[in-house]
């Protein structure tokens, strides 16, 4: 049984179509990265899965429960880690966890809180108000709160957005531990590195649809080939190199101060002599497919 099944799901907000005929299946036990630029429909998809948004049409099933009719039951089996910090800041760390253990009907609240504290490595700060924690501690607590009932499925909505690299790495370790325990994870992100590191499979979402899906290495091979050549220089030089590569049928994308000629191994003589050649990346795929700059 798939943990998540979406069939031709549409969700509009007035004239804006946030989710446009979305088909998505997430097998149990994998981490699927939902990668897309801002406004791609990732957060709306997450809200549809928790029943906080109702689809205009289409079929949604989570852990065998039809949505929105059985959304409440489905929510009891999944954990959600939101993009925005919505902890109770005046309340202690352990009370924040205990409140959610009760909301999830956990039979032994005390034991669940202890486990969650261990996950967040906040045992020493259990009686501190959330207000007194550092940003990294708060994110760890937010993650632990979503896991307090040990759910079968976890939705991570941009779990490291806006965090500094050190805290991001800490969270990646925690998410890696979660994967190792066999929990199904759906993680929306617009960070390429995050998807590359954590996801077993990546689905690229753009304008409300999945436009490509597969293991990162498969996506790279399919869309970007083996290597990418980056050309640096003044604007006229870059324009010339771009025109030359495109005339040979290669895809070219901007890459900061350079241009990147994707799949440059496919055509002999496509690489200018001064180009820097590197292995093709998921970022190349993302930019080619969505036309958006990656982060």
């Amino acid at each position: 049984m798939a943990a998540i099944e979406l069939r031709n799901v549409v969700k509009t907000f007035g004239p804006i179509t946030a989710v446009d005929g979305l088909d998505l299946e997430v097998p149990e036990g994998i981490c699927l990265g939902l990668l897309g630029p801002n406004g791609a429909g990732k957060s709306t998809t997450m809200r549809l899965l928790t029943g906080q948004a109702i689809a205009d049409s289409g079929e949604l099933r989570v852990l065998g429960h039809d949505l929105p009719a059985e959304a409440k039951t489905a929510r009891g089996l999944m954990g959600v880690v939101p993009q925005l910090d919505n902890l109770d800041v005046d309340v202690t760390v352990e009370d924040n966890l205990a409140i959610f253990a009760r909301l999830y009907r956990v039979p032994d609240v005390g034991a669940a809180v202890e486990k969650a504290l261990a996950i967040a490595r906040l045992q020493e700060r259990r009686r501190d108000a959330v207000d007194e924690l550092s940003g990294g501690m708060r994110r760890r607590l937010l993650l632990a709160r979503g896991l307090v009932h040990e759910p079968r499925l976890v939705l991570l909505d941009e779990p490291t957005v806006g965090l500094d690299p050190q805290i991001r790495t800490e969270l990646w370790t925690l998410i890696g531990d979660l994967k190792a325990r066999g929990t199904t994870i759906l993680m929306s992100t617009h960070y390429i590195e995050e998807a590359e590191r954590l996801a077993d499979e990546v689905a690229v979402m753009h304008q409300g649809k999945i436009i490509s899906r597969g293991r990162p290495v498969e996506l790279i091979t399919e869309h970007a080939g083996r290597q990418t050549a980056e050309v640096y220089g003044p604007p006229e030089r870059l324009a010339e190199a771009r025109a030359d590569a495109e005339s040979k049928g290669l895809s070219v994308r901007p890459a900061g101060p350079a241009i990147a000629i994707v799949g440059s191994e496919r055509v002999d003589g496509a690489i200018p002599e001064d180009a820097v050649v590197r292995a093709a990346s998921l970022e190349d795929v993302f930019v080619l497919l969505t036309g958006e700059e990656a982060e």
Binding site: G76, V91, A112, G182
Partner: protein, 272 residues
């Protein structure tokens, strides 16, 4: 490598179909309110005790010493003191419901967190109303206790005052939640306060009997839940009449109506 044990096999209770208005969901949301209340109860309790005391000193002692000795055979300080119960109820239910709900929704994203758990909007609103009802029902009794300290004789009927306050507070909590789910900006509460809260407070019969007002206002006052609460509290202090059953029924209907309106408005606001 050791085989990993799926985490969900350890704690997650067996899946079952969940029903509407589950006590566990309501208790869970209320436990959040209690945890938060423990961080600010001193300030709230201080103002809830001090405010009726100040009103009693200003109106009860001030006016009775200069202008009014008694109303309908009741010493004026006791008349005001029993009426102040309604004032305490509206200010500790409608206003916290309005501002608290708005802040939790717009600024703290608290409801997004709660609704990601197995709790629905109906349970969320019910829990918020119940908590405010309990809290306000308790604080509503303070003016009565203060008035007893000023000489009002305790009566058995006063034991029903917490219930009257609770039911009225439920209604105003529902009103406040519905308003919070309706306004676009927090400053629009000024309209709500000026158009609804203040007139209800002034035409409740707290400071003066409404039978001296124009007939139209007297009729309108019958639809004011605060006036009905004032009459019920005075019934508890000075003797009930059979109409008090109708008054209580009116307050229960008010609570029921605002409960459903609050759920409807919050669902519109919280579910896309």
């Amino acid at each position: 490598m050791e085989a990993a044990t799926p985490a969900h096999e350890q704690i997650t209770p067996a899946p079952r179909q969940m029903r509407r208005l589950e006590p566990a969901a309501i208790a869970g949301v209320m436990s959040r309110e209690v945890s938060n209340f423990r961080t600010y109860w001193k300030g709230t309790t201080f103002s809830s005790v001090l405010e009726p005391l100040v009103y009693l000193l200003a109106f009860g002692l001030g006016l009775s010493a200069t202008l009014v000795d008694e109303v309908d055979g009741v010493p004026y300080i006791e008349f005001v003191g029993t009426g102040m119960v309604a004032t305490a109820v509206i200010f500790s239910s409608a206003l916290p419901a309005m501002f608290g709900t708005f802040v939790k929704h717009r600024f703290q994203n608290t409801y997004d967190a709660i609704l990601a758990a197995p709790v629905d909007v109906e349970e969320l609103v019910s829990a918020e109303m119940l908590w405010i009802g309990i809290r306000s029902g308790t604080y509503g009794c303070v003016p009565l206790l203060v008035t007893i300290a000023f000489g009002l004789d305790p009566e058995p009927g006063m034991l029903l005052v917490p219930l009257f306050c609770f039911v009225t507070a439920l209604g105003f909590a529902g009103f406040g939640v519905a308003m919070a789910a309706t306004v676009a900006k927090i400053d629009q509460f000024n309209y709500v306060t000026a158009l609804f809260v203040t007139p209800l407070f002034l035409v409740a019969g707290t400071f003066f009997p409404i039978d001296g007002l124009p007939e139209g206002v007297q009729v309108a006052a019958q639809f004011n839940p605060l006036h009905q609460l004032v009459e019920l509290v005075r019934g508890g202090a000075f003797g009930f009449e059979w109409e008090d059953l109708l008054r209580f029924g009116f307050l229960a209907t008010f609570a029921l109506a605002t409960w459903r309106v609050a759920i409807h408005q919050m669902r519109k606001r919280l579910i896309d």
